[in-house]
Symmetry: D3
Subunit: 180 residues, 6 copies
């Protein structure tokens, strides 16, 4: 019986499934998908920065250095696509709010076996912009992959080397502003 | 003079910058952004799979296990957002073609300190679907981050632990089909 | 002749068709599609709530209760899709303005033969959010249909029972706020 | 013990929550959100029709008849927005596949206290188009609401009369075609 | 009375306004917005090309030549945005069908006082792609404007010189293909 | 040597290509794509107007006058699509910021051989709205082309007459507002 109660309680925690079993605790039910209400918050200047990298074959890095990439300059594609993607964050993250981004910036650096990227997003909003920075960064890196696809595939069409990793938020700040 | 010719040739390689200096070599100019023409290819059944992971605090993993996540079940959000994102690939990757995806699937597994994800995409098209699988995967992982944000931040609002990594294409196959 | 003039005037009222027949009245021409100018209004806290329902076969309701739905939990899909749709309102309603929604919430209730839904939208904007609440609600209900399609179709692939109805705005309030 | 097994099995049915409790039955787990795989189906000519209505104040209907609607002809807005919305179905229904619609048509009829609408969608695809017809229909009706908002609100800004209802799929057919 | 009937017929021609007056002729009513049905057509290889130009200040052209553009290489932005826009044609042209473009290409040429652009679009579809080529071209030219805005404005923030013109479809061909 | 330095400097100016050749000047590198940071600017009331025209066959103009256009009233389609497109500007112009437009208006005038269009956009934002006005205008004109396609093509499917031209920004003003 004890086990029964426990299981029932557990199921009840998942309000998304709550039509199955009435909760026997009065604990707040939490697994139902919901968006945070930010209406009572104050707009502040928000800046977030994210980093990450894509590992590439040395031959591909050499191609970029020589400017021999059939689909064009991967850095220019990545910058533009990253900026675009940041603006599309609320479409890609269903629970994110619509923000007006005031600046999106992408820095890309070529090492011997990778492209290292940093994305910075600025906005004066009621919630943070780290998901926007992460989206800009990630889509920028995916575009580098896309532009260089032909050089990263092996003879069987597989990608033995290419890998995106180390995606982190390195800074997230907010600062009270005087709205004019 | 020799140096001059070399440099001029180099600049010319970047057709995107080619209004600067006429190319003096007949080497293929390649850095101008362009999309591959797939019109002469044959539709084939394409399947691609991508994997990756998001590292989380053990306390956050425990919360998922207990079903105590305020914004709701992170796995359900990730699955739905990943499927949606796969369909949006040509919007996020400017050089990708518009494909009709016939199946997008996301598998998520909870370990002690991470969520491991696999995305699979199927389509009968003239070009591969690995960018679609990577997009589904990456956006799924970003959504897990978004849903769990509150538990991953430290007292200064930073993310000392959270990290997305190991994003790879693990399989990419094509197979002739008889279009009925 | 009097009748003629009247009719001519009527046609003239339809400025969209007004190149056909010059208006002979100086009455304001009104059928030309146009968007309201909200630039001189003051942002206020806006809350709108809409309700509606989808009628289902009792067998389908039983399936939801038992958790036997092949495509997954219809309530979780509906919540997420409804939140997403609210954000897309200006894309779906050409004359709606772009608003930054601060909260979208969906409540779903299972009865013996239907799902009853309520959508609530909050924003601090120059115009109301009832269209956003209606969009969230309607798309949530359509997603429930989509997830349960297989169980609602009869042997001829038709939907003899499924019906969405009673879509109404049940509350719409605005409240002056002190913009900080 | 029997109860325990049942409950455990029930929880397990909800694979979306399955990290909570290992399933003890081998019954197919079904509440995890997933998209149907249509890759092995054959494209067929698909036609679906949906109907619905929006109830309006008689005074508003009279205004439409007289052509005195400030925001313009509600029928033209509804037709265009309905066609657009049908194309956006895979964005609004996360589990819907991307289809190429070959025809979207909206018929609108004015009665004494309502607008009655019918949407028809045609495509040659591997899956049906009823969700597309329902989306076209619903968004068309919502646009009629939006265009007529000013005349439907009472002195308190509420909508005592306006109501969308009777949304049904009235026909859904498929027909083998010889793809040239 | 006869005149009345005639006028009534005229009004009836505009089916979009047809709730005003029943048509008394059996002439095809044509002003109601509707999409062409392409379901009975055969897919063919379609190629369309469009051209156009944007007039710029000679000083701005010189800046492009020298590579002194703060927002970056306008040609790279234009190419990428043009390719993206072509894919968004059905979103921008409500009556256009969704097509899968197999190639979008933009050629840009710098003259002494303008950028001349050509867009080419290829697809194997049931309807032509000239609207897609025009969209790619036009959005490419608008992006050149956007990137060079700062140099084209006079001291009052106006654009005395900048002008987009000569937008034409220069070629549109179709060709039967054997669908494999 | 002088030539070498110059060329090298030139290449270096294009930071997008800067991995090729290290800059030897300390001049600001400028061809790397980047978005302007508007976070420190003050919102002001912005109004921009753009004009342009589409040349048509006289027979097509006559058809519009008579209301004999199969796909429906081109002016209504153009107005609605133009308003929609203005809202999509940040999607079409990657370097444009997301603005909340408070009014979009399209005026269309039929001459003997053309449609002349004016677009006006109003917003209270940190940056101007001329790109939004140009986008509304251009997409409106493209939609007129799309609606009238059938009448503008010659027997070979070409467009000998149709031409969009004279696209200009005719006015751009900003005005300090007291944000309430």
């Amino acid at each position: 019986m004890h086990v029964l109660l426990n299981l029932s309680g557990r199921t009840g925690l998942h309000k998304g499934c709550a039509y199955l079993a009435p909760s026997i605790t009065n604990k707040r039910l939490t697994m139902e998908i919901k968006q945070v209400d930010i209406s009572n918050k104050t707009p502040e200047r928000r800046v977030a920065m994210a980093t990450g990298r894509i590992k590439l074959r040395p031959e591909t890095v050499e191609r970029i250095r020589k400017g021999e990439v059939e689909k064009g300059d991967p850095f220019q594609v990545a910058r533009l696509a990253g900026i675009q993607a940041a603006k599309l964050t609320p479409l890609l993250m269903p629970l994110c709010h619509q923000l007006k981004l005031e600046h999106v910036e992408l820095e890309l650096k070529l090492t011997d076996s990778a492209v290292e990227a940093t994305a910075k997003v600025v906005a004066t909003e009621k919630t943070g912009v780290e998901m926007e920075a992460l989206t800009a960064l990630t889509i920028a890196l995916l575009n580098i992959w896309d532009v260089l696809k032909a050089y990263e595939k092996d003879e069987n069409g597989q990608y033995p080397v290419t890998e995106i990793s180390n995606i982190r938020v390195i800074s997230k700040v907010k600062q009270r502003v005087d709205v004019p």
